[in-house]
């Protein structure tokens, strides 16, 4: 790891697009200003780690478990919700187990 000492107001550059400014240091807390292009996401590491953890957890959910838990939760029936994904969604029907697209379903 590269270790640099910086005073308040001093800047570190990373590549030609990222600038990190030390803004303030008070009671053990450092405030940092980060300028980076939108294509480089900047996040607190713990948020990033939490999202990875939640994604890994979600990826393991069994459909039966969700089906069971669904009965206990309250999800608002939102009729105004536009579903632009309909034509891109594969509709699964357990009974015929043959998947058809939502578009075909609608037309049929």
């Amino acid at each position: 790891m590269l270790v640099l000492s910086r005073k308040i107001g001093e800047v570190i550059t990373i590549g030609s697009t990222v600038k990190i400014t030390i803004l303030d240091y008070r009671r053990g807390v450092v405030r940092i200003g980060i300028e980076a292009p939108k294509s480089i996401p900047v996040h607190r590491k713990e948020v990033y780690d939490k999202i990875i953890e939640l994604n890994r957890q979600a990826a393991k959910i069994e459909i039966e478990k969700l089906r069971k838990e669904m009965k206990n939760i309250s999800v608002k029936e939102n009729k105004n919700l536009k579903d632009n994904l309909t034509s891109q969604t594969v509709v699964f029907n357990k009974d015929n187990s043959q998947n058809t697209t939502a578009k075909e379903e609608q037309n049929g």
Partner: protein, 145 residues
């Protein structure tokens, strides 16, 4: 690469839905994968009639991987990801998980999955706002319901 070959149907064996035949127009390309699954790039959205309004985002490359999704507006009518998302063109869904220890269902409102329908692309974004939680607790039904 032969373009016709790319556009062929794919047969995938999913954990949740058994064997599915996937048309190329149903595949969303995730250039950067999903956080924690950066090596997976092709996903398909599945609506299982028994688990609506949830949808499932299933990996084409590893069909054992699937995420239950819900529209964030099912949970919060005022959900506002910010002006940079053109909701005429993009569809946002949030990943839902079951937290075993406290037996609750939570939704990641902070890091929605964005679908660019026209271009068949998708990505997971992290909203800069502190307004949204990574584990928003989906309320349980009250007795009246």
């Amino acid at each position: 690469m032969d373009l016709n070959q790319v556009k062929e149907k794919k047969i995938i064996k999913t954990l949740q839905f058994g064997v599915l035949e996937i048309e190329p127009q149903h595949i969303f390309y995730f250039e950067n994968g999903i956080l924690g699954f950066e090596d997976l790039h092709e996903f398909v959205l599945i609506a299982d009639e028994e688990t609506l309004p949830f949808k499932w985002l299933i990996s084409v490359e590893n069909p054992e991987i699937g995420f239950p999704l819900l529209s964030p507006w099912h949970l919060d009518l005022m959900y506002d990801p910010g002006d940079e998302f053109d909701l005429e063109k993009l569809v946002l869904m949030v990943i839902v998980t079951l937290e075993d220890e406290n037996k609750q269902m939570t939704a990641n409102m902070k890091a929605p999955i964005v679908f660019d329908v026209e271009n068949q692309r998708g990505w997971q974004t992290i909203l800069p706002s502190d307004k949204y939680s990574t584990n928003f607790v989906i309320p349980k039904k009250t007795k009246q319901e």
